[in-house]
Symmetry: C2
Subunit: 104 residues, 2 copies
DNA sequence: GCCATGTGCAACCATATGATTGCACTCGAC
DNA sequence: GTCGAGTGCAATCATATGGTTGCACATGGC
């Protein structure tokens, strides 16, 4: 029942996952390759990659026996737009209230 | 050392907090008022509100002895813009790679 | 003044989560 | 074929997190 938007936000709510994402932002990489750069074990990274893949922020790419991951900006942009829409709605409400207050 | 963006995303990565935020989107409300609508205790809601306030998604408003909370679209929009910027950068990289591939 | 309502604080609990280690398996390179 | 690098799976662990109950405190309305 949990919305996809919530899941994406939850996936983005972890420092290590952001480290992985920014690392992937510089180029596709495998879990093992990432483990050499980041201060966590390969298995921990693999779990994070699985989470990121489930919410669509990352995509697996086979390269020989290596399993590289590619970061997907489209999903992040889509999430951003959804958040923007919600934020805009809240702001409209606030603006309306402010207007009413000024009319009194 | 954790970035503010990560904290906001983490705050948004919880279903109950979204329930609170959408409820507040319809009008300011206190923790007690929210507790009557949502299936969690007032204290749980108070904790969530504290988290939301720390990341700037919500703002306390005194109303007599009541402490109401107001949802802030500005912070959500700011977060959305930051995510959008990152997603766009990733997409630019992918597009560049695709172009190189086509040149071969 | 009294009482009910709204808050705040603290202890506590169960589960989720981030991380680790160890081992087995696969597959490409030499 | 052998070896090593990359991967997958499982068990384990510590801590964070969401949630609860209970109680003390303030504060506004009658």
């Amino acid at each position: 029942m949990t919305d996809a938007l919530v899941d994406v936000c939850a996936a983005l709510g972890d420092q290590t996952r952001w480290s992985i994402l920014t690392a992937l932002g510089e180029g596709d990489a495998s879990a093992s390759a990432l483990a050499t750069r980041l201060p966590v074990s390969r298995q921990a990274i693999a779990k994070h990659l699985a989470i990121l893949e489930r919410v669509g922020l990352v995509e697996p790419v086979r390269a020989g026996r290596e399993l590289r991951y590619r970061v997907l900006g489209s999903e992040l942009s889509a999430t951003a737009r959804r958040l923007e829409a919600v934020g805009a709605a809240w702001d409209r409400r606030l603006a309306a209230i402010k207007e009413i207050a000024e009319d009194m």
